[in-house]
Protein backbone atom coordinates (compact mmCIF):
# COMPACT_ATOMS: atom_id res chain seq x y z
CA UNK A 1 0.00 0.00 0.00
CA UNK A 2 2.98 2.30 0.32
CA UNK A 3 4.23 4.14 -2.74
CA UNK A 4 7.87 4.03 -1.72
CA UNK A 5 9.28 0.52 -1.91
CA UNK A 6 12.74 1.33 -0.62
CA UNK A 7 12.74 -0.42 2.74
CA UNK A 8 15.83 1.38 4.05
CA UNK A 9 14.15 4.70 3.32
CA UNK A 10 10.76 3.60 4.69
CA UNK A 11 12.28 2.46 7.97
CA UNK A 12 13.86 5.85 8.75
CA UNK A 13 12.47 8.45 11.11
CA UNK A 14 11.51 11.75 9.43
CA UNK A 15 10.82 15.17 10.87
CA UNK A 16 7.50 16.35 9.47
CA UNK A 17 6.74 19.59 11.33
CA UNK A 18 8.07 21.97 13.95
CA UNK A 19 6.43 21.71 17.36
CA UNK A 20 6.68 25.51 17.76
CA UNK A 21 4.53 25.96 14.65
CA UNK A 22 1.75 23.68 15.90
CA UNK A 23 -1.25 24.54 18.00
CA UNK A 24 -2.40 21.97 20.56
CA UNK A 25 -5.30 19.96 19.24
CA UNK A 26 -5.12 21.34 15.70
CA UNK A 27 -4.40 18.83 12.92
CA UNK A 28 -1.68 19.56 10.39
CA UNK A 29 -1.35 17.89 7.02
CA UNK A 30 1.73 17.00 5.08
CA UNK A 31 3.12 14.50 2.60
CA UNK A 32 5.91 12.06 3.37
CA UNK A 33 7.22 9.65 0.73
CA UNK A 34 4.15 10.40 -1.42
CA UNK A 35 1.72 9.56 1.37
CA UNK A 36 -0.69 12.11 2.85
CA UNK A 37 -0.26 12.30 6.62
CA UNK A 38 -2.02 14.07 9.47
CA UNK A 39 -0.23 14.98 12.66
CA UNK A 40 -1.14 16.79 15.83
CA UNK A 41 0.08 17.48 19.31
CA UNK A 42 -2.04 17.66 22.45
CA UNK A 43 -1.89 20.09 25.37
CA UNK A 44 0.68 17.91 27.15
CA UNK A 45 2.98 17.89 24.14
CA UNK A 46 2.15 14.30 23.15
CA UNK A 47 2.34 13.94 19.36
CA UNK A 48 0.25 11.75 17.09
CA UNK A 49 0.57 10.98 13.38
CA UNK A 50 -1.48 8.86 11.03
CA UNK A 51 -2.02 8.17 7.36
CA UNK A 52 -4.89 10.19 5.97
CA UNK A 53 -6.13 7.15 4.04
CA UNK A 54 -6.09 4.88 7.10
CA UNK A 55 -7.29 7.15 9.87
CA UNK A 56 -6.41 8.06 13.40
CA UNK A 57 -7.28 4.67 14.89
CA UNK A 58 -4.13 3.17 13.30
CA UNK A 59 -1.44 5.61 14.39
CA UNK A 60 2.09 5.68 13.03
CA UNK A 61 5.16 5.51 15.27
CA UNK A 62 5.80 9.06 16.42
CA UNK A 63 8.04 11.07 18.73
CA UNK A 64 9.20 14.62 19.36
CA UNK A 65 12.89 15.36 18.98
CA UNK A 66 14.93 18.53 18.48
CA UNK A 67 11.79 20.63 18.31
CA UNK A 68 10.12 18.56 15.60
CA UNK A 69 7.53 15.81 15.30
CA UNK A 70 9.10 12.70 13.74
CA UNK A 71 7.37 9.70 12.26
CA UNK A 72 8.19 6.52 10.35
CA UNK A 73 6.15 4.80 7.64
CA UNK A 74 7.92 1.44 7.97
CA UNK A 75 9.38 -0.31 10.98
CA UNK A 76 11.77 2.07 12.72
CA UNK A 77 15.22 0.55 12.28
CA UNK A 78 16.59 2.32 15.34
CA UNK A 79 16.21 5.52 17.27
CA UNK A 80 16.71 9.05 15.93
CA UNK A 81 20.40 9.98 15.84
CA UNK A 82 21.66 12.08 18.74
CA UNK A 83 22.68 15.71 18.79
CA UNK A 84 24.03 15.98 22.35
CA UNK A 85 24.72 19.73 22.05
CA UNK A 86 20.98 20.40 21.81
CA UNK A 87 20.68 19.63 25.54
CA UNK A 88 23.33 22.09 26.73
CA UNK A 89 21.44 24.62 28.79
CA UNK A 90 23.08 27.80 27.47
CA UNK A 91 22.22 27.11 23.82
CA UNK A 92 19.52 28.76 21.79
CA UNK A 93 17.53 26.02 20.09
CA UNK A 94 15.08 27.01 17.41
CA UNK A 95 13.28 25.97 14.27
CA UNK A 96 14.71 28.33 11.61
CA UNK A 97 12.11 27.37 9.00
CA UNK A 98 10.64 24.51 7.02
CA UNK A 99 10.90 25.29 3.33
CA UNK A 100 9.64 23.40 0.31
CA UNK A 101 12.30 22.78 -2.32
CA UNK A 102 11.94 21.28 -5.75
CA UNK A 103 14.91 18.91 -5.41
CA UNK A 104 15.63 15.35 -4.33
CA UNK A 105 16.71 14.87 -0.72
CA UNK A 106 20.20 13.51 -1.58
CA UNK A 107 20.99 16.45 -3.88
CA UNK A 108 20.10 18.81 -1.03
CA UNK A 109 22.29 16.91 1.44
CA UNK A 110 25.17 17.05 -1.01
CA UNK A 111 24.83 20.81 -1.39
CA UNK A 112 24.76 21.14 2.39
CA UNK A 113 28.09 19.28 2.55
CA UNK A 114 29.72 21.43 -0.11
CA UNK A 115 31.98 24.34 0.81
CA UNK A 116 33.10 25.19 -2.71
CA UNK A 117 29.97 27.21 -3.47
CA UNK A 118 30.27 29.59 -0.49
CA UNK A 119 32.01 32.54 -2.22
CA UNK A 120 29.77 32.36 -5.29
CA UNK A 121 26.34 31.68 -3.78
CA UNK A 122 26.71 33.19 -0.29
CA UNK A 123 28.90 36.09 -1.39
CA UNK A 124 30.11 38.35 1.44
CA UNK A 125 28.48 36.11 4.06
CA UNK A 126 29.85 32.56 4.02
CA UNK A 127 32.57 33.29 1.48
CA UNK A 128 34.13 35.89 -0.73
CA UNK A 129 36.49 35.90 -3.69
CA UNK A 130 39.47 35.44 -3.86
CA UNK A 131 39.17 33.11 -0.81
CA UNK A 132 37.78 30.25 -2.89
CA UNK A 133 40.07 27.37 -1.96
CA UNK A 134 38.56 24.36 -0.22
CA UNK A 135 41.48 23.24 1.90
CA UNK A 136 42.24 19.57 2.43
CA UNK A 137 39.86 17.95 4.95
CA UNK A 138 39.18 14.46 6.31
CA UNK A 139 36.16 12.25 5.71
CA UNK A 140 35.39 8.91 7.27
CA UNK A 141 32.48 6.61 7.76
CA UNK A 142 32.16 5.88 11.44
CA UNK A 143 31.46 2.15 11.62
CA UNK A 144 30.23 2.41 15.18
CA UNK A 145 27.47 4.91 14.45
CA UNK A 146 27.08 4.23 10.73
CA UNK A 147 27.45 7.90 9.90
CA UNK A 148 29.66 10.07 7.74
CA UNK A 149 31.99 12.45 9.51
CA UNK A 150 33.92 15.21 7.73
CA UNK A 151 36.43 17.00 9.94
CA UNK A 152 39.18 19.60 9.69
CA UNK A 153 37.09 21.61 7.22
CA UNK A 154 38.16 25.26 7.21
CA UNK A 155 36.90 28.16 5.17
CA UNK A 156 37.36 31.91 5.23
CA UNK A 157 34.01 33.52 5.98
CA UNK A 158 33.28 37.27 5.98
CA UNK A 159 30.19 36.85 8.21
CA UNK A 160 29.91 33.31 9.51
CA UNK A 161 26.88 33.99 11.74
CA UNK A 162 24.85 36.75 13.40
CA UNK A 163 27.40 36.81 16.24
CA UNK A 164 30.39 37.40 13.92
CA UNK A 165 32.41 40.55 14.28
CA UNK A 166 34.07 40.25 10.88
CA UNK A 167 35.88 37.87 8.54
CA UNK A 168 37.50 34.78 10.03
CA UNK A 169 38.72 31.31 9.15
CA UNK A 170 35.88 29.13 10.33
CA UNK A 171 36.13 25.46 11.20
CA UNK A 172 33.40 23.07 10.15
CA UNK A 173 32.50 19.52 11.09
CA UNK A 174 29.82 17.73 9.10
CA UNK A 175 27.88 14.67 10.19
CA UNK A 176 25.54 12.66 7.99
CA UNK A 177 23.86 10.33 10.50
CA UNK A 178 20.77 9.61 8.34
CA UNK A 179 20.45 9.25 4.56
CA UNK A 180 18.46 12.50 4.39
CA UNK A 181 19.65 14.46 7.44
CA UNK A 182 22.87 16.27 8.16
CA UNK A 183 24.29 18.09 11.16
CA UNK A 184 26.82 20.84 10.69
CA UNK A 185 29.06 22.18 13.44
CA UNK A 186 30.89 25.46 12.95
CA UNK A 187 33.17 27.31 15.30
CA UNK A 188 31.29 29.69 17.52
CA UNK A 189 32.35 33.35 17.39
CA UNK A 190 31.27 33.51 21.07
CA UNK A 191 33.40 30.68 22.45
CA UNK A 192 36.35 29.26 20.56
CA UNK A 193 36.15 25.92 22.37
CA UNK A 194 32.58 25.23 21.23
CA UNK A 195 30.61 24.99 18.02
CA UNK A 196 27.25 26.18 16.73
CA UNK A 197 24.97 23.49 15.36
CA UNK A 198 22.90 23.78 12.20
CA UNK A 199 20.93 20.68 11.30
CA UNK A 200 18.84 19.94 8.24
CA UNK A 201 16.17 17.29 8.57
CA UNK A 202 14.86 16.58 5.09
CA UNK A 203 11.37 15.25 4.63
CA UNK A 204 11.12 13.64 1.18
CA UNK A 205 7.70 14.61 -0.16
CA UNK A 206 8.44 12.53 -3.23
CA UNK A 207 11.61 11.60 -5.08
CA UNK A 208 12.13 15.13 -6.39
CA UNK A 209 10.54 17.36 -3.75
CA UNK A 210 11.43 17.94 -0.13
CA UNK A 211 10.44 19.91 2.91
CA UNK A 212 13.71 21.07 4.44
CA UNK A 213 13.46 21.53 8.21
CA UNK A 214 16.28 23.64 9.62
CA UNK A 215 17.14 23.40 13.30
CA UNK A 216 19.59 25.71 15.01
CA UNK A 217 21.35 25.22 18.32
CA UNK A 218 23.65 28.18 18.70
CA UNK A 219 25.60 30.25 21.18
CA UNK A 220 24.53 33.83 20.65
CA UNK A 221 23.73 36.21 23.46
CA UNK A 222 23.53 39.36 21.36
CA UNK A 223 20.78 38.60 18.83
CA UNK A 224 17.14 37.70 19.24
CA UNK A 225 15.68 34.49 17.80
CA UNK A 226 14.21 36.35 14.87
CA UNK A 227 17.55 37.78 13.74
CA UNK A 228 19.25 34.38 13.96
CA UNK A 229 16.39 32.72 12.14
CA UNK A 230 16.28 35.35 9.36
CA UNK A 231 20.04 35.02 8.84
CA UNK A 232 19.58 31.30 8.24
CA UNK A 233 16.65 31.88 5.89
CA UNK A 234 18.72 34.35 3.89
CA UNK A 235 21.41 31.69 3.42
CA UNK A 236 18.88 29.00 2.55
CA UNK A 237 17.09 31.31 0.12
CA UNK A 238 20.38 31.71 -1.74
CA UNK A 239 20.83 27.94 -2.03
CA UNK A 240 17.28 27.32 -3.17
CA UNK A 241 17.54 28.25 -6.88
CA UNK A 242 20.85 26.37 -7.11
CA UNK A 243 19.24 23.24 -5.68
CA UNK A 244 16.19 23.56 -7.90
CA UNK A 245 18.28 23.86 -11.05
CA UNK A 246 20.33 20.71 -10.50
CA UNK A 247 20.03 18.19 -13.28
CA UNK A 248 19.21 15.37 -13.09
CA UNK A 249 17.13 16.03 -9.99
CA UNK A 250 17.88 12.61 -8.54
CA UNK A 251 21.41 12.01 -7.31
CA UNK A 252 23.39 9.73 -9.64
CA UNK A 253 25.26 7.12 -7.59
CA UNK A 254 27.37 5.79 -10.45
CA UNK A 255 30.87 7.18 -9.80
CA UNK A 256 31.24 7.91 -13.52
CA UNK A 257 28.00 9.90 -13.81
CA UNK A 258 29.45 13.20 -12.63
CA UNK A 259 33.02 14.43 -12.37
CA UNK A 260 34.04 15.25 -8.82
CA UNK A 261 36.98 17.40 -7.77
CA UNK A 262 39.10 17.00 -4.65
CA UNK A 263 36.81 19.31 -2.68
CA UNK A 264 33.95 16.87 -3.28
CA UNK A 265 35.48 14.20 -1.03
CA UNK A 266 32.53 14.23 1.37
CA UNK A 267 30.05 14.05 -1.53
CA UNK A 268 31.85 11.02 -2.96
CA UNK A 269 31.73 9.33 0.43
CA UNK A 270 28.05 10.18 0.75
CA UNK A 271 27.24 8.66 -2.65
CA UNK A 272 29.18 5.50 -1.78
CA UNK A 273 27.45 5.27 1.57
CA UNK A 274 24.01 5.56 -0.06
CA UNK A 275 25.02 2.91 -2.63
CA UNK A 276 26.20 0.58 0.08
CA UNK A 277 22.91 0.97 1.91
CA UNK A 278 21.12 0.07 -1.31
CA UNK A 279 19.15 3.33 -1.33
CA UNK A 280 17.05 3.68 -4.47
CA UNK A 281 14.70 6.56 -3.52
CA UNK A 282 15.67 10.01 -4.79
CA UNK A 283 18.76 8.64 -6.52
CA UNK A 284 19.76 7.09 -9.83
CA UNK A 285 21.32 3.83 -8.62
CA UNK A 286 24.61 2.75 -10.14
CA UNK A 287 24.26 0.07 -12.79
CA UNK A 288 24.81 -3.34 -11.19
Amino acid sequence: MTVCTDKTVLDQWYAIGAVAEMEAGVESHTILLEEALCYAIDGLGIPRAWRQSVGEQNPLPVQCAYGYVWTCLGEPSGDIFTIPEFFETDRRNMNAASIGVNVSAPRAIENFLDMGHFPYVHTDILGVEPHTEVKEYDVEISEKNDEILATRCRFFQPMASTASGGGADVEYVYRVPHPFCSVLYKSSPMDESRMDVIAVFLQPVDQEHIRAHMMLSVLDEANDDKTIRMFQQTIFGQDKPILENQFPKRLPLDPRAETPIRADKSAITYRRWLSRKGISYGVIPAAA
Binding site: A18, G100, V101, R229, T234, G237, K240
Partner: protein
Amino acid sequence: MIKLYDYELSGNCYKLRLFMNILDVEYEPVAIDFYPGKEHKSEWFLKINPLGQLPVLNDDGFVLRDAQAILVYLASKFDRSGKWYPTDQPELLGAINQWMAFSDGITSTSSAARLHDGLFYDFDIEACRAGAHRLFRILDEHLWFEEKQGNSWLCSADHPTIADIACFPYVILSEEGGISRQDYPAIRRWTDRVKRIPGFMVMSGVFPAGPAFKQQNQEMSA
Protein backbone atom coordinates in the same frame (compact mmCIF):
# COMPACT_ATOMS: atom_id res chain seq x y z
CA MET B 1 15.52 57.78 9.54
CA ILE B 2 13.20 55.77 7.31
CA LYS B 3 12.17 52.43 8.78
CA LEU B 4 11.24 49.57 6.49
CA TYR B 5 9.26 46.69 8.00
CA ASP B 6 10.97 44.01 6.04
CA TYR B 7 11.24 40.28 5.31
CA GLU B 8 14.26 39.10 3.33
CA LEU B 9 12.46 36.52 1.22
CA SER B 10 9.59 38.86 0.24
CA GLY B 11 9.76 40.19 -3.31
CA ASN B 12 7.58 43.15 -2.39
CA CYS B 13 9.98 44.15 0.40
CA TYR B 14 12.89 43.56 -1.95
CA LYS B 15 11.59 46.05 -4.51
CA LEU B 16 11.80 48.78 -1.86
CA ARG B 17 15.28 47.76 -0.68
CA LEU B 18 16.32 47.74 -4.33
CA PHE B 19 14.83 51.13 -5.11
CA MET B 20 16.25 52.78 -1.99
CA ASN B 21 19.64 51.37 -2.91
CA ILE B 22 19.32 52.81 -6.43
CA LEU B 23 18.32 56.22 -5.02
CA ASP B 24 20.98 55.96 -2.32
CA VAL B 25 18.42 56.52 0.43
CA GLU B 26 19.47 55.41 3.89
CA TYR B 27 16.98 53.35 5.86
CA GLU B 28 16.77 51.04 8.81
CA PRO B 29 15.24 47.62 8.13
CA VAL B 30 12.98 46.21 10.87
CA ALA B 31 12.95 42.45 10.38
CA ILE B 32 9.52 40.85 10.60
CA ASP B 33 9.32 37.11 11.18
CA PHE B 34 6.89 36.57 8.30
CA TYR B 35 7.66 32.87 8.25
CA PRO B 36 7.33 30.76 10.26
CA GLY B 37 6.44 33.31 12.97
CA LYS B 38 3.55 35.04 11.10
CA GLU B 39 4.57 38.25 12.85
CA HIS B 40 2.81 40.31 10.16
CA LYS B 41 -0.46 38.95 11.58
CA SER B 42 0.48 39.73 15.19
CA GLU B 43 -1.51 42.21 17.23
CA TRP B 44 1.26 44.81 17.33
CA PHE B 45 1.85 44.67 13.59
CA LEU B 46 -1.86 44.88 12.73
CA LYS B 47 -1.86 48.25 14.49
CA ILE B 48 0.73 49.40 11.93
CA ASN B 49 -0.96 47.74 8.98
CA PRO B 50 -4.48 46.41 9.57
CA LEU B 51 -4.18 44.44 6.32
CA GLY B 52 -1.44 42.35 7.93
CA GLN B 53 0.85 42.69 4.93
CA LEU B 54 4.45 43.63 4.27
CA PRO B 55 6.10 45.96 3.41
CA VAL B 56 5.34 49.04 5.48
CA LEU B 57 7.44 52.19 5.51
CA ASN B 58 7.67 54.67 8.33
CA ASP B 59 9.32 57.96 7.37
CA ASP B 60 9.63 59.97 10.51
CA GLY B 61 6.10 59.12 11.63
CA PHE B 62 4.50 59.06 8.18
CA VAL B 63 3.35 55.44 7.80
CA LEU B 64 2.66 54.01 4.37
CA ARG B 65 1.74 50.49 3.28
CA ASP B 66 1.60 48.88 -0.20
CA ALA B 67 4.84 48.40 -2.12
CA GLN B 68 3.66 50.33 -5.19
CA ALA B 69 2.43 53.30 -3.13
CA ILE B 70 5.76 53.35 -1.33
CA LEU B 71 7.65 53.35 -4.65
CA VAL B 72 5.63 56.43 -5.68
CA TYR B 73 6.40 58.12 -2.37
CA LEU B 74 10.12 57.35 -2.49
CA ALA B 75 10.48 58.49 -6.11
CA SER B 76 8.54 61.70 -5.48
CA LYS B 77 10.53 62.54 -2.40
CA PHE B 78 14.06 61.37 -3.15
CA ASP B 79 14.60 61.09 -6.91
CA ARG B 80 16.33 64.29 -7.94
CA SER B 81 16.45 63.23 -11.59
CA GLY B 82 12.66 63.27 -11.76
CA LYS B 83 12.78 60.31 -14.13
CA TRP B 84 11.60 57.41 -12.00
CA TYR B 85 8.10 58.88 -11.61
CA PRO B 86 7.85 61.88 -13.92
CA THR B 87 4.77 63.75 -12.77
CA ASP B 88 5.04 66.26 -15.63
CA GLN B 89 4.49 63.64 -18.36
CA PRO B 90 0.84 62.52 -18.36
CA GLU B 91 1.19 59.63 -20.82
CA LEU B 92 4.27 58.18 -19.17
CA LEU B 93 2.71 58.59 -15.73
CA GLY B 94 -0.43 56.79 -16.88
CA ALA B 95 1.62 53.94 -18.33
CA ILE B 96 3.68 53.64 -15.14
CA ASN B 97 0.52 53.29 -13.09
CA GLN B 98 -0.90 50.79 -15.53
CA TRP B 99 2.17 48.55 -15.13
CA MET B 100 2.22 49.04 -11.37
CA ALA B 101 -1.32 47.66 -11.24
CA PHE B 102 -0.10 44.84 -13.48
CA SER B 103 2.59 44.08 -10.91
CA ASP B 104 -0.15 43.37 -8.35
CA GLY B 105 -1.41 40.74 -10.76
CA ILE B 106 2.07 39.22 -10.87
CA THR B 107 2.05 39.13 -7.07
CA SER B 108 -1.30 37.35 -6.90
CA THR B 109 -0.19 34.68 -9.38
CA SER B 110 3.60 34.22 -9.53
CA SER B 111 4.25 35.16 -5.90
CA ALA B 112 1.31 33.05 -4.77
CA ALA B 113 2.75 30.03 -6.61
CA ARG B 114 6.08 30.61 -4.86
CA LEU B 115 4.37 30.82 -1.45
CA HIS B 116 2.55 27.58 -2.23
CA ASP B 117 5.67 25.67 -3.22
CA GLY B 118 8.13 27.12 -0.72
CA LEU B 119 6.08 28.02 2.33
CA PHE B 120 3.12 25.64 1.92
CA TYR B 121 0.35 28.20 1.43
CA ASP B 122 -2.97 26.59 0.59
CA PHE B 123 -3.51 28.00 -2.91
CA ASP B 124 -4.76 26.45 -6.16
CA ILE B 125 -1.29 26.02 -7.63
CA GLU B 126 -2.39 25.26 -11.17
CA ALA B 127 -4.54 28.41 -11.26
CA CYS B 128 -1.63 30.49 -9.91
CA ARG B 129 0.76 29.17 -12.55
CA ALA B 130 -1.72 29.52 -15.40
CA GLY B 131 -2.46 33.09 -14.30
CA ALA B 132 1.24 33.96 -14.19
CA HIS B 133 1.83 32.51 -17.67
CA ARG B 134 -1.05 34.57 -19.02
CA LEU B 135 0.50 37.75 -17.60
CA PHE B 136 4.02 36.81 -18.68
CA ARG B 137 2.82 36.28 -22.25
CA ILE B 138 1.31 39.79 -22.25
CA LEU B 139 4.45 41.25 -20.68
CA ASP B 140 6.75 39.46 -23.12
CA GLU B 141 4.85 40.69 -26.16
CA HIS B 142 4.75 44.22 -24.82
CA LEU B 143 8.51 44.22 -24.18
CA TRP B 144 9.20 42.76 -27.61
CA PHE B 145 7.26 45.56 -29.33
CA GLU B 146 8.98 48.16 -27.14
CA GLU B 147 12.36 46.72 -28.17
CA LYS B 148 11.35 47.02 -31.82
CA GLN B 149 10.84 50.73 -31.22
CA GLY B 150 14.20 51.02 -29.53
CA ASN B 151 12.86 51.06 -25.97
CA SER B 152 14.48 48.99 -23.26
CA TRP B 153 11.97 49.50 -20.48
CA LEU B 154 8.37 48.76 -19.60
CA CYS B 155 7.22 52.30 -20.31
CA SER B 156 8.22 54.21 -23.45
CA ALA B 157 11.15 56.25 -22.18
CA ASP B 158 14.91 56.09 -22.51
CA HIS B 159 15.23 55.29 -18.81
CA PRO B 160 13.68 52.85 -16.33
CA THR B 161 10.77 53.91 -14.13
CA ILE B 162 9.29 52.56 -10.92
CA ALA B 163 7.09 50.32 -13.09
CA ASP B 164 10.21 48.26 -13.91
CA ILE B 165 11.08 48.03 -10.22
CA ALA B 166 7.51 47.05 -9.33
CA CYS B 167 7.29 44.22 -11.87
CA PHE B 168 10.83 42.83 -11.58
CA PRO B 169 10.88 40.84 -8.29
CA TYR B 170 8.09 38.31 -8.83
CA VAL B 171 9.09 37.87 -12.46
CA ILE B 172 12.67 36.99 -11.52
CA LEU B 173 11.53 34.72 -8.65
CA SER B 174 8.91 32.91 -10.76
CA GLU B 175 10.83 29.65 -11.05
CA GLU B 176 10.50 29.17 -7.29
CA GLY B 177 6.79 28.75 -8.01
CA GLY B 178 7.45 26.35 -10.89
CA ILE B 179 6.92 29.03 -13.56
CA SER B 180 9.62 28.83 -16.20
CA ARG B 181 10.57 31.91 -18.21
CA GLN B 182 12.02 29.83 -21.02
CA ASP B 183 9.29 30.86 -23.45
CA TYR B 184 9.64 34.59 -22.77
CA PRO B 185 12.87 35.81 -24.40
CA ALA B 186 11.94 39.49 -24.23
CA ILE B 187 11.28 39.16 -20.50
CA ARG B 188 14.68 37.53 -20.05
CA ARG B 189 16.44 40.35 -21.89
CA TRP B 190 14.53 42.92 -19.83
CA THR B 191 15.42 41.28 -16.48
CA ASP B 192 19.08 41.38 -17.53
CA ARG B 193 18.76 45.09 -18.25
CA VAL B 194 17.15 45.70 -14.85
CA LYS B 195 20.09 43.88 -13.26
CA ARG B 196 22.45 46.40 -14.84
CA ILE B 197 20.71 49.52 -13.49
CA PRO B 198 23.34 51.36 -11.40
CA GLY B 199 22.67 50.61 -7.74
CA PHE B 200 21.05 47.25 -8.48
CA MET B 201 21.21 44.79 -5.59
CA VAL B 202 20.13 41.19 -5.15
CA MET B 203 18.04 39.29 -2.63
CA SER B 204 18.15 35.58 -1.76
CA GLY B 205 17.09 33.79 -4.92
CA VAL B 206 18.15 36.58 -7.30
CA PHE B 207 21.57 36.56 -8.91
CA PRO B 208 23.47 39.55 -10.28
CA ALA B 209 24.12 39.93 -14.00
CA GLY B 210 27.30 38.15 -15.02
CA PRO B 211 30.52 40.18 -15.22
CA ALA B 212 30.74 39.24 -18.93
CA PHE B 213 27.68 41.35 -19.53
CA LYS B 214 29.19 44.32 -17.74
CA GLN B 215 32.35 44.14 -19.80
CA GLN B 216 30.42 43.85 -23.01
CA ASN B 217 28.45 46.91 -22.05
CA GLN B 218 31.51 48.95 -21.31
CA GLU B 219 33.03 47.96 -24.62
CA MET B 220 29.87 48.85 -26.42
CA SER B 221 29.65 52.25 -24.82
CA ALA B 222 33.40 52.92 -25.19
